[in-house]
Symmetry: C2
Subunit: 434 residues, 2 copies
């Protein structure tokens, strides 16, 4: 059984999606827009919708010419909870910028409001511009951020456990609202935080809202292995997905855990009734890209002048990875795209503009279902984090055309069997630690 989340982002994950005449570029501050997307996802019986978060305008490829950041996810989520009934709701929470008490309290509150459908994607944030909005001179270094993240997670989990599951007795005659002794301080003292507790909110319906993690580094993978209950990954193709999958599952076992910890790589899809139609949808978005600024961006990624290259000719050969002096991650992705897809320059710009290093599948519903099934069967993924390149069309296409194929093959639920996100993901409800 696949797990499917949808990562809702701006007008879609393609940088130029907002320029499409049908885009909702004017509606990014309109909660009804997000509600309608979540209802579409729920119609498709997806496990969850996911909202990323950044603390500076323009973080994560939004900005410059396109939309900057927009509605703050935690404040959207109670509306989303009321607009849907069963689907999970996942929000990024930065352990670098929140205190554990704020995070635990807001997430617990939302878990009550949604009846047990909340998840949190723990991130450590990355940009100096974000840090400078919260009092830092620059982004604290990676190791410090992950040390803080671990302490943060520990404190949050203990806050959620500061109330017994059955603390509320509401005995009007005796005048006892909670069972005496059922709500306790946690007295956390650490390097980064002091948190006495108890939380001001009863234990969440799920015990703990589901913890997601998307770390790629050693520290990120280790944090995920020890605490994450589900993982968002980046995998360009099946071999890299398999390598990541093996590594992280090994770390989970090494951490002594037997939870399933589903791994969901990002997936950009262009769906058509024929392969040609699917490719035309992709080309339509790519054609909207502002070529000059995209070329300028590519220039920084590959560290050579490409402003005069022919947009509709194949990309000329680039020097091998070893010879490249700049940041290697993005450059490696570019080499792989050129190597496997032999794109024109315009197609390369389009691929980089939608999902970057994430996998892109273009084709008929059956073709896409085939590849998803292959990733599932061959140890590349337990599901996918869908990254629709344009909204609402790419999401509609997936829900209306690919989901039925997956359902017919018995790879995806035909209806929700559970009422909580934990239930959808097959995760046990955590027992309160005392």
């Amino acid at each position: 059984m696949l797990h499917l989340n949808v990562f809702l982002f701006g007008c879609g994950h393609h940088r130029a999606a907002w320029c499409h005449p049908d885009s909702a570029a004017e509606r990014l501050g309109d909660i009804a827009w997000y509600e309608s997307l979540a209802r579409t996802a729920e119609r498709g019986k997806l496990d969850a919708v996911f909202f990323a978060d950044g603390h500076s305008a323009g973080a994560f490829g939004m900005g410059s010419d396109g939309p900057l950041w927009y509605l703050e996810p935690l404040t959207m989520l109670s509306a989303m909870a009321r607009a849907t009934e069963r689907i999970g709701l996942v929000s990024t929470v930065s352990s670098t910028f929140f205190t554990p008490f704020h995070a635990a309290r807001m997430l617990a509150s939302l878990d009550h409001i949604s009846g047990g459908r909340m998840g949190w994607n723990v991130v450590t944030s990355m940009f100096d511009a974000e840090a400078r909005n919260h009092g830092f001179e620059a982004m604290p270094d990676h190791a410090w951020r992950y040390a803080r993240a671990e302490e943060f997670v520990e404190a949050v989990l203990r806050l959620w456990d500061s109330w017994d599951d059955n603390a509320l007795i509401v005995d009007r005659r005796a005048g006892d609202y909670v069972r005496p002794g059922a709500v306790r301080r946690i007295d956390h003292r650490g390097e980064h935080f002091r948190v006495d507790g108890p939380l001001t909110v009863p234990r969440p319906p799920q015990g703990h809202p589901v913890m997601f993690q998307a770390g790629a580094s050693e520290q990120g993978r280790d944090l995920a292995a020890r605490y994450a209950e589900a993982i968002y990954a980046v995998a360009y193709d099946l071999p890299s997905a398999q390598a990541y999958y093996r590594d992280v599952k090994r770390r989970v076992r090494a951490a002594g855990r037997r939870d399933p910890v589903p791994i969901m790589p990002g997936l950009v899809t262009y769906v058509g009734s024929t392969e040609a139609e699917a490719r035309a949808k992709q080309a339509e978005l790519d054609a909207l890209l502002p070529t000059e600024s995209s070329l300028r961006q590519l220039q920084t990624f590959i560290d050579q002048d490409c402003m005069d290259w022919d947009l509709d000719a194949p990309v000329p050969p680039l020097p091998p990875l070893d010879a490249f002096k700049g940041p290697k991650g993005r450059y490696a992705t570019i080499l792989r795209i050129i190597d496997t897809e032999r794109p024109t320059l315009r197609q390369l710009l389009g691929r980089l503009a939608a999902g970057g290093g994430h996998c892109t599948m273009v084709g008929t519903p059956e073709q896409i279902a085939d590849r998803m099934e292959q990733w599932l069967r061959e140890g590349g993924a337990d599901g996918f984090n869908l990254m629709p390149p344009s909204l609402p069309h790419s999401l509609d296409d997936f829900i209306d055309q690919v989901v039925p194929v997956l359902q017919a093959r018995g790879l995806f639920r035909r209806d929700y069997e559970a009422g909580t996100l934990r239930g959808h993901l097959g995760l046990a409800r955590p027992v309160r630690k005392t």
Copy 2:
């Protein structure tokens, strides 16, 4: 014209309200419960619903025997916004525990979600137990908190002004989402905060969500005078309301401001078709008080043994204020209640258990409307912050019985004339400072 807010709190402001058989004590984590209360308030055309906030379990008289704290207000508000159409939504935000960036961003987001109906009540928080949930050893002192609050407010206002009102041009052909130069950094550097900006959210529909303040001290009143656009006050009776009103309006003028800055003292009401019926409602709640713990609490307030006093006899005379060694504020209130109401011991416990130093009005709708009108005409208030002692009954009584009398007298709107909280309160939309 009166302004009316309702301060929604637990099962009502009477400490024993949760023990009433009809109370919603089981539903404090149920968002539908708050939605129904907000709809009632909207049916009564109130200016706003207000949610207080505390960062420790048991803050503000909740706790011990009764409900501890519950849903976190900022996470509730988008659901509240979707459950209502016109009424304002005010949430407390602590300047001691948030960063300005978090506060500005969440409030701006909620102002977009609600279509311009958000207000924030800036507080500096008060209890050590709260401070110890956010990394402090103890609550920082009053002066430090107010200095931080002022810088906090300044940074928040500048963040809201970091986008031009008409920044969004969404020019798909030119590829310009925002007007070049319309989104700018604020580069705030102060004693307490560094915030570079810009905000990640466009300028809120109201320009700035409406700022409320409820400070009683010199620093609190000064902060309110300089920044608050509406004020929640505590006034036991008309003379003390008039004194506060004169003082704060003078400070507002001295700060060079000409905004109306409506002042809304808290108001606890027991409404009946006869005065006797109203008194019976009050007595019914008072009878639910756990006498032993209430007496023990009174004992600490008056610093003498009262465990053996007769509950149904008048309270014996107490030493004058000058002779009292403990905290004077609460003691002064107790002396005034005894002096003006000649209560039995049980009645005194009831008065202290519902609204403490706030005004209580008990009577028929006409009697209560008379007194509200008197406060309005004689310079005691521009409106009231209703503090229903029990929910939903006390709120229903007020909306269904008192509001129509106020409307018939032309003292309160028959329907909303504006779509924003600013509009309800008669406040101008702030022009962006550059």
